[in-house]
């Protein structure tokens, strides 16, 4: 399948690589089909929309930065992505960058759960007291002001 992307132009992907969010992603409800793209050797991936060439999220594996990260979900929350065998599940988190000061955070409160076998995915919401919305993985040091 050929897909248009803003960052990489036209790319070719196989049907098996398509990740489908039947409920959409909060804030982007019409966009349901995505693909994960690697760029460079770092820990980050693009979650590129197949419906909108200019839409791509930065995602990463939460365990790179929060090794103790564990999520507890009710069976009902796994039903809509047909995830019965947890071994087929994959967890990603959104990465946000803010300027002034330069800060990079990952959203541990609302991870993405992917069923690797069916390609179905959803963003789940964990209880706010369990994990933060903005878990800092980098903060630029404040520049010293000469006195």
């Amino acid at each position: 399948m050929k897909v248009q992307t803003k960052r990489f132009g036209e790319i070719s992907i196989s049907n098996q690589d398509v990740i489908e969010f039947p409920q959409g992603i909060p804030g982007f409800s019409g966009k349901k089909r995505f693909v994960l793209l690697k760029e460079g050797d770092g820990p980050f991936y693009w979650l590129q929309s197949l419906d909108d060439p200019s839409l791509a999220f930065v995602v990463t594996n939460p365990l790179f930065f929060a090794p103790d990260y564990r999520i507890k979900l009710h069976r009902d929350q796994l039903k809509d992505i047909d995830l019965t065998d947890l071994a087929n599940g994959e967890v990603w988190v959104f990465v946000s960058i803010r300027r002034e000061p330069f800060r990079v955070t990952i959203n541990l409160q609302a991870p993405i759960l992917v069923n690797r076998v069916t390609g179905l995915a959803k963003q789940v919401l964990l209880p706010p007291e369990e994990y933060p919305l903005q878990y800092e993985i980098l903060r630029a040091e404040k520049e010293e002001v000469a006195s």
């Binding site: 839409l55 930065v58 959104f94």
Partner: protein, 80 residues
């Protein structure tokens, strides 16, 4: 906005499959019971808005992942 008066124990139905019941009233807190199909997510609004804000920030990254990976490399013990 449609406004309906309901007593504790009474419900409203939205469409065919969503039911909202007034479970309890304590001071200025109303507890709602919500029955909805699994494909209809239910969120507290302020939390939903926070998630949308984070998702928006994640879709608005102007660095390449190569640049970002140079600033924040894969932790050495996590490399395959």
């Amino acid at each position: 906005m449609l406004v309906l008066a309901r007593k504790v124990g009474e419900s409203v139905i939205i469409g065919d499959s969503i039911e909202i019941t007034i479970v309890d009233l304590r001071g200025d807190v109303v507890r709602l019971g919500i029955k909805a199909p699994v494909d209809v997510p239910v969120y507290r609004k302020e939390i939903y808005e926070q998630i949308v804000r984070e998702n928006l920030a994640s879709s608005d990254v102007d660095l390449s992942l190569e640049e970002l990976g140079n600033i924040i490399p894969t932790p050495p013990d996590k490399k395959k």
